[in-house]
Symmetry: C2
Subunit: 692 residues, 2 copies
């Protein structure tokens, strides 16, 4: 029992624990203790995303007794999301259940925030198979008194005779297992050889399939591609929120955290490594047969002695992989921006944040997984992609390895919009790169009702120029508002892909002027002062009765400014680079990243997000960064090419270009009037287009 | 306070602790708790080697209160070894002080057993300086907006421009420190480069001297040579007992321990690594100014607030080195027999002990010090010498790297007598090697009164053929018994170098016959049945009144057998190898190891320890194994030569040679009659020589 007034709360599986005052709900406790539970509706008991399970029993290890009686009474709304079966198993909504005494709370996978982020699914890309790790099966002659040569040298004789492999090293950790493995395999073994140099794993007997993983570490999202190294097939794609998000949203915030907190670098690195290990485990677990509750003949769930349902294996049809473990992964490649790269490797990132922003290192690194604390095959090396510059990192090299503008005659502009914007311009003659501080607005973050691309997020919008009436579509529902009952929309916010739509429509309909201000002449009842902050203007996109969060979804003056800043930064970058190259038009625009996949290209062009280009030559190239990490996993020649790219793309620091500020100011206008946007004409009324 | 009847005892600096019954002495407690305290006299309070300090105070960390009142009363004999100053500081003899209650006992360096073993001092050898680790100082141009290249690449540009070094890697752990070091050095740094491949350390500014260590891991003794890599000077030689000795005296015992104890391999390896780290620390501490007690003007010891004497630095004259730490050691080489090699690296040694005795690996290994847990510069590699065969290991390669018989025309027989005998025979045309199970008898172990070469050990002996009276000399005293008062001898036992003397004299004087039996016809009062075991015959070498242990020092029939077995094994090995080579005489005999340094060569030859050879061509080559480790530390070309040797010396398994047993039986005779020993004639009377 805890002291009067406070209760001990332990969250599983993270194991985080703390002491909180009685009476607060589990969501609030999770926030204080630092556990992320999904809370889409803002604790309104209407999204059902925060399901947790109250564990019962005496947990001596933690010194607490946890019971369902230690939470407040069941609330009616919980029944909307929790089935009677689940209720019986101890499930509650974390926003509804109040803490009355000590608790052990299990947070299921689906309730962990930052879990179900945009899936960075793998694209079909052409890769020339030539992995850094190759495998060779050999049969070895056992030793005798006449020939008592050592085990390793015997294997080397066989590898040379059968495959012409000479002078290989072997890592100590692999050598340790070797004498017993060779005997277990009855003198037939399969050796994994890294870069024709070193033996990094030996299996007993013959092995055909082997596995690798390519990881793209974004500032916000981490995605991993789990590959069969023989077939080059992507077995699974798994992703998660970068666990460093809690230390700051963007790159500069993380660098600052390091500089202001002793041990901060280690903490951020370790959190990420731990996350990578979980991701790797998750990828491997995906190959294990799923579990389901055992049922008896009558269909009733069978319970074990502990009162919990008995779980049995339920292999998923059509997905027959061997049951893999992290130690089966023999190669791993990593891409990420320079700050993520440095923090992951515990390289001091402070100089990346200080002019002239030099990285600690450009070239790629081969680092033993064990030296990084990454749990894969213990002798394996992690290939870390090279960096272009302090603000154009290994992630951009990944994009270029995929798109290969250096082999093209076309003048390409490649835009990778993440939390930072990275730009590359050029062709086989010359390539320049730059970065621009777009901020996270284009991804939907930092806006009053910005949200991730999840069900209930507004992704398309139309505003009637006369009535200022709004029609929109949300993710997860085919019908637009116009064809729906308001209460069926269950709107929650606006996601990245809807944001440019909103801005374009607000402008086209005259709600905001080209300078980004709300027009004072409009009379729409949707235009108003924020009830809580009367000096803040806002425009209602969705009325409370259309939402699942019980309040109006609005776009504020501040939101519009954020979007303008983002688009201005991006556009300025593009234009200044073009000026450097002495060109005024590009042949192709490639947009990498999730934003590119979802944005309406025409609206982006119209709003002046990037320079004018024929619409058919504006293309999304998906998660090219992740693709690049996958390419170097499967083709070692591309590792050399990556290093070549990192050293031969010329980085330009835009903020020190003359008239940068002037350009930036102009670029914030909607649309950017210094340029010709032929596409704009049919969309925006003439009187709007020519208003001052 | 402890429970009635028992007391908690904690030994420092090891931190080992346990609970023992009250009333036992500290030596007995140390034995039970597993702490090694020197006890040369067998707890007779006469050697003074077991000095310990009783710490006083309340040690909350350990939950005990320790006090000098918690040991039994001071005993008069302690005064012979403990000065009044020491007494005041809490010193006691561990064999005299009885435990009455909880104690924290500090065991000073000099009282730790296995500490003061035979010093394997460094020989002057010629080495061609070409170390694997070289250092380079460069001045780097700082980054600017025009040239924002990364820190590492800037250093590489400077290294290439100034030294032509290209395409170097850098270890992650060195890279982590690098950005701050380069700024601390104001863009001048010194880089340590391993094998022209990888940067393993960077110092700020200019550095001239740098350091390495060569270690010879023997089954019984570990010796380390601490070298200045620039001057090639040996700064210090430190040694210790192999901490694995507690798991078994010889190689087979250790292998058996591994096979019979789960986790045994890890335990033995970890103990050795821990020992190596202590040895390395000890070597570094040797460069620190010594500490002495601070005294005031009147010469009185100054005490601090804690009641302990205040220590001040007292630099030793003529020994001016920078204060070095283990992290200053940038290279380390290791030699040892195959079993020590395998156990150290945690390679399964079981197959080395099973016919046909293949090692796991022959070739040398470069292993990150951190992967082995060896505390030197974290990016450094340990060079582990290659193995010749299961029973002729990396230590023998070290000997051959030093003696280089493969470059000689002379037919050399190289004998390395440790706990196992290793033999190499041949010249530039052909080299063969073999091992023989000499056992530890020749080192003085396993004999009734065998002991290490320490003060009080009999090292020379003469027996009067008529009276059978014995005269002898002990280590630490110039005068022979004949010229001394018996009580001045303070004899304790017989050390390795005295053992062959004893056997030769016993034979020459007719006490034992050539078959190794005590002659039944002798009437000496020194010849008798063992009082405790009447079936065991023995011969008294020193009477109790000549000893410091209070009992007769004898040599038993079993002792003689042990010596015969050892010499027989060695001689058989030599003869069978010569037969294989088709020769009946060698040009040179080289004896490596401590035994070679101390043995009377003439007696060894006379007793048939090895084949006949001109006495001037029988030479001791000292600790050639240690020298070899030092050679490869300072000359990387010799690493290649070591690998060549390991693969080109042909190993012969003698035990499967035909008539091995017959040869062995004959070789056990004293002297071996099948051979001509011209040296024997003047020494052994004719009637003894021709007795049947």
């Amino acid at each position: 029992m805890s002291r009067n007034g406070t209760a001990k709360v332990i969250f599983q599986p993270s194991g985080r624990r703390g002491e909180v005052e009685k009476g607060i709900n589990i969501i609030e406790a999770s926030r204080r203790i630092g556990v992320d539970i999904e809370t889409l509706c803002g604790e309104k008991k209407v999204c059902g995303k925060c399901k947790v399970r109250i564990e019962e029993g005496s947990f001596e290890k933690f010194g607490i007794v946890s019971s369902r009686d230690h939470v407040g009474p069941w609330q009616e709304e919980e029944g909307n999301f929790i089935t009677p079966d689940q209720k019986e198993a101890g499930y509650r909504l974390a926003c509804a259940a109040e803490i009355m005494d000590d608790l052990l709370v299990f947070v299921p996978e689906e309730s962990r925030a930052g879990k179900q982020v945009v899936s960075k699914a793998a694209r079909d890309i052409e890769i020339n198979r030539n992995p850094a790790v190759k495998i060779y099966t050999v049969t070895i002659i056992p030793p005798s008194f006449k020939d008592p040569l050592g085990d390793f040298e015997r294997m080397m004789q066989a590898l040379e005779k059968e495959y012409g492999l000479k002078g290989l090293n072997i890592d100590l950790f692999t050598l340790r297992d070797f004498p017993n493995i060779v005997r277990k395999g009855e003198w037939t073994v399969t050796a994994a050889v890294w870069m024709d140099k070193e033996i990094i794993k030996v299996w007993p007997g013959e092995v055909e399939d082997y596995y690798g993983i390519a990881i793209d570490v974004g500032t916000t999202t981490v995605a991993a591609y789990f590959c069969n190294m023989r077939t080059m097939e992507v077995i699974d794609t798994v992703s998660m929120m970068n666990p460093q998000c809690k230390y700051g949203e963007d790159v500069m915030a993380r660098i600052t955290y390091h500089m202001q907190n002793p041990g901060g670098l280690e903490r951020m690195s370790n959190d990420l490594i731990e996350g990578l290990n979980e991701l790797i485990k998750q990828a491997c677990d995906g190959t294990h047969p799923a579990k389901k509750k055992k049922k008896d003949e009558t269909g009733k769930v069978v319970k074990g002695e502990d009162g919990q349902p008995v779980m049995v294996e339920a292999p998923e049809e059509g997905k027959v992989y061997p049951r893999l473990e992290p130690s089966d992964i023999v190669d791993l490649t990593l891409g990420g921006n320079t700050a993520m790269h440095h923090i992951l490797l515990k390289l001091d990132p402070r100089y990346v944040g200080l002019a002239p922003f030099p990285p600690v290192i450009h070239r790629s690194l081969d680092i033993r997984a064990r030296d990084l604390g990454i749990n894969i095959n213990k002798s394996s090396n992690v290939f870390v992609m090279p960096n272009e510059a302090g603000f154009v990192g290994a992630d951009n090299v990944c994009v270029l390895v995929t798109e290969r503008p250096h082999t093209s005659d076309e003048l390409q502009l490649i835009i990778d919009i993440g939390t930072n914007g990275e730009l590359v311009l050029g062709n086989r003659d010359k390539l320049i790169s730059s970065s621009c501080a777009t901020g996270p607005a284009l991804e939907g973050a930092q806006l009053a009702f910005g949200m991730r691309a999840a069900p209930g997020a507004i992704e398309r919008i139309k505003i009637d120029p006369k009535t200022h009436d709004v029609d929109y579509k949300v993710i997860g529902r085919e019908a637009w508002l116009k064809y729906s009952k308001p209460e069926d929309m269950k709107t929650k916010g606006i996601c990245g892909s809807g944001i440019l739509d909103v801005l374009a429509e607000l402008y086209r309909s005259g709600v905001v002027t080209k300078s980004g201000r709300f027009s004072k002449t409009q009379k729409s009842n949707r235009f108003r002062n924020n009830p809580d902050n009367p000096r803040q203007k806002e425009f209602v996109i969705a009325w409370a009765n259309e939402t699942s969060i019980g309040k109006d979804v609005v776009i504020t003056q501040k939101d519009v400014r954020q979007i303008q800043l983002a688009k201005g930064a991006l556009y300025t970058g593009c234009k200044l680079m073009m000026r450097r190259m002495g060109i005024d038009k590009v042949d192709t625009i490639k947009i990498a990243g999730a934003f590119g996949t979802h944005v309406a290209k025409d609206k982006a062009l119209i709003m002046g997000l990037f320079p004018d280009c024929d619409l058919e030559n504006v293309m999304s190239v998906g998660n090219a960064a992740g693709d690049g990490a996958r390419i170097v996993l499967l083709d070692r020649n591309m590792r050399d090419e990556a290093n070549w790219i990192a050293r031969n793309v010329e980085y330009i620091e835009l903020t020190v270009e003359k008239d940068f500020e002037q350009q930036f100011m102009e670029s914030m206008q909607i649309p950017h009037m210094k340029d010709e946007f032929p596409h704009l004409k049919g969309y925006v009324p003439e009187e709007i287009l020519h208003q001052k």
